[in-house]
């Protein structure tokens, strides 16, 4: 009886779209198209405005802005090499740590090591890391992390100071605590996208591997990991993009020191922290230089993100 009425109703629905439907459809298309182009234009406008404000600095200092190491307001000499170095160094360290743990977590959560429900709970907890505000990470870094890693840092400095990475003692804020906190901040990004990469592998592939008599670890390391490599690499690059632009936690933890040092325990500076610290009371020339620094940061981040998107697309991991 119920089947009969539903069939009748479904027949009565089948009719050409009304004028209203067509209008809604067209309006929706036009609107989304406008917004899509709006975003592109917005990005272009931001680049144009920031770039425009940076031009006086480029005219005055030229290439030396990228290679200079002093930030002297009195003599009006500016250079952002220490900040570029600090940005790349801290992001790379963070990627090394966060990337390793992120991929490991992705394997752990997708390869049937745990019951389904536990997997879901753990996944949500890791994603919750992304919801913690940057300042909280910064404060946690100062009050919890730094005292925690001090014994390790002192040990490394005392016994391995001949390795350039451990050549100075850890004072407090510095490259190492900053990179550690950064790695935790990029962990959810890396873990989530890597999990997607593992899930995108067809069931058949695993079954084929097991069918050939591989153990679970052989299957993971020899089959799953190479198959998901493209997606994982994309995840790492997106994580790197996230790490490059991080501001608040780094401004609190990196030490704001205008120097280039290989030692991970030395204080350093990053582009984003430089901007946050110097903007509020910068003079005209300084603002132009800061705008230039912002452009450099924007370009680095843009390149890294585009690279990540490209890799994910190339490897056919459709999201």
């Amino acid at each position: 009886m119920a089947e009969h009425t539903s069939l009748q109703r479904s027949q009565s629905i089948s009719k050409p779209p009304s004028a209203g439907d067509i209008f809604t459809n067209n309006a929706f298309r036009a609107l989304t198209l406008a917004f899509t182009w709006g975003i592109v234009l917005l990005l272009a406008y931001i680049l144009f405005r920031i770039g425009g404000k940076a031009i006086p600095a480029v005219k005055e200092y030229g290439f030396s802005l990228l290679t200079g190491t002093t930030w002297d307001v009195n003599n009006r000499t500016f250079g952002i090499l220490p900040e570029i170095w600090g940005t790349l160094y801290s992001s790379m360290l963070a990627l090394l740590l966060g990337g390793f743990f992120g991929v490991t977590i992705a394997i752990f959560l997708t390869q049937n090591f745990l019951p389904r429900t536990l997997e879901t709970i753990l996944r949500s907890i890791i994603e919750l890391l992304a919801a913690i505000p940057s300042v909280v990470y910064g404060l946690w870094g100062i009050f919890v992390l730094i005292p925690l890693i001090r014994p390790l840092a002192d040990f490394l400095n005392a016994h391995f100071s001949w390795i350039p990475f451990f050549s100075t003692s850890l004072s407090g804020p510095g490259m190492f605590p900053a990179a550690l906190v950064l790695s935790i901040m990029i962990l959810p990004t890396v873990a989530a996208i890597s999990q997607d990469a593992f899930r995108a592998i067809p069931r058949k592939t695993v079954e084929a591997a097991f069918g050939m008599g591989t153990t679970r670890w052989e299957a993971i390391l020899r089959v799953m990991l190479p198959t998901a490599a493209g997606g994982i690499f994309g995840a790492l690059v997106l994580g790197l993009g996230r790490a490059l632009g991080e501001t608040m936690a780094l401004a609190m933890l990196v030490g704001n020191s205008n120097q280039i040092s290989l030692s991970v325990f030395a204080p350093a500076n990053t582009l984003a922290a430089l901007l946050a610290l110097n903007f509020p009371e910068a003079g005209d020339t300084e603002i132009a230089v800061l705008m230039f620094a912002a452009c450099v940061l924007l370009l680095i981040t843009l390149l890294v993100n585009m690279l990540g998107a490209l890799i994910i697309n190339r490897t056919g991991m459709k999201r």
Partner: protein
């Protein structure tokens, strides 16, 4: 899957933005009388404002702690009724004041070298040569022979020296570098001068505001930085005993600060702008400075002029007795008398 990534990206984008905007947003509480400037005397000024309000003057006062450089900027832009600066103003800046400027020395203080050395409980002694070299980045380790020679009874740790300096345009930086410039030719030889902002050499961390420097020293082992005395003592930081012009080692205190002022008060010029980069006298603490209020000579609105005169007059007379308890140096009688005279000229 997709919504998940989208949520993460959204958080990643929006949260930092929220926190950054809170960085820029300046508090915009408007009182009847608004001032802005130096952070060095700020705790005292805030205390004065509270105490003065208790005398029910019939108007409210606010003071924004934004650093001397920004204070001068806002005073010249006339967005505030009075400015405050540890460097007064230089002559080019003073020439830009449309309604004239009157410097009023309101208080004085000392800049201390506070440090954080774990397991060192005796106060550190530093000679004039040594602390210049520390801040020039020439001495990089705490167990350096030059520091050890001055402190035979202290077991100095094998730590790198991290200097903590000001990132913002600061009167405290100016006072300290003006002192360094006066005591050692090496400061100028290294290409530095007396300035509100310095590109510090060596292993230095830069932080905003006096409180910020004190906090950073508190959390960093092997750190040493220059801070206003009251801020450092409230933070509970140990402070170095410094060698003064006469070769005596003087611990920072209100008394040694008063000695520095008293010995040099007769030199006060008519514009009341007296710098004491290297005060003479056996008990004089070496790094001392006045801190000035910047007033317009002629207030376009006479009511504002009356209000500010009433407040500053109270500060110079009643207010001085609050200085000691907050770690500042009360003005010598000769100086405050001249300041009151100058205040009378403000209309």
């Amino acid at each position: 899957m997709i919504p998940r990534i989208r949520t993460i990206c959204l958080y990643a984008l929006v949260l930092p933005m929220l926190y950054c905007t809170s960085l820029w947003a300046a508090p915009t509480i408007k009182a009847d009388l608004n001032g802005a400037g130096a952070t060095f005397p700020a705790p005292l000024y805030q205390h004065w404002i509270k105490q003065f309000a208790a005398t029910s003057p019939g108007f409210t006062i606010s003071y924004a702690e934004v650093g001397s450089g920004e204070g001068i900027k806002r005073f010249l832009a006339e967005t505030v009724d009075f400015g405050a600066s540890d460097t007064a103003m230089n002559d080019t800046e003073a020439a830009q004041a449309r309604h004239g400027v009157q410097f009023i020395p309101a208080t004085a203080g000392i800049v201390v070298l506070a440090y954080n050395l774990p397991n060192v409980d005796k106060p550190l002694r530093l000679s004039r040569k040594v602390y210049v070299d520390i801040f020039l980045g020439n001495i990089r380790k705490w167990d350096d022979a030059r520091i050890a020679a001055l402190n035979p009874e202290i077991k100095l740790p094998d730590l790198n020296i991290t200097t903590v300096v000001r990132a913002d345009s600061s009167g405290t930086t100016w006072t300290f570098t003006n002192h360094l410039q006066a005591i050692s030719p090496r400061w100028k030889d290294a290409g530095f001068m007396a300035a509100k902002k310095i590109d510090w050499p060596g292993n230095s961390m830069s932080v905003n505001y006096n409180e910020g420097v004190a906090n950073r020293i508190l959390h960093s082992w092997g750190a040493i930085g220059y801070v206003e005395y009251g801020v450092a003592s409230r933070a509970g930081l140990p402070m170095a005993i410094l060698e003064n012009k006469d070769g005596h080692y003087v611990p920072p205190s209100v008394e040694s600060g008063m000695a520095a002022l008293a010995n040099n008060a007769p030199q006060l010029p008519t514009n009341l702008r007296l710098f004491i980069p290297d005060p003479a006298g056996a008990g004089a603490y070496p790094i001392s400075s006045y801190s000035w209020l910047l007033l317009h000579q002629r207030y376009p609105n006479p009511q504002q002029g009356e209000r500010i005169k009433k407040f500053v007059d109270w500060c110079l007379k009643e207010g001085q007795k609050y200085a000691v308890q907050l770690g500042y140096t009360p003005l010598p009688q000769a100086v405050s008398a001249k300041a009151v005279q100058a205040l009378d000229q403000v209309r």
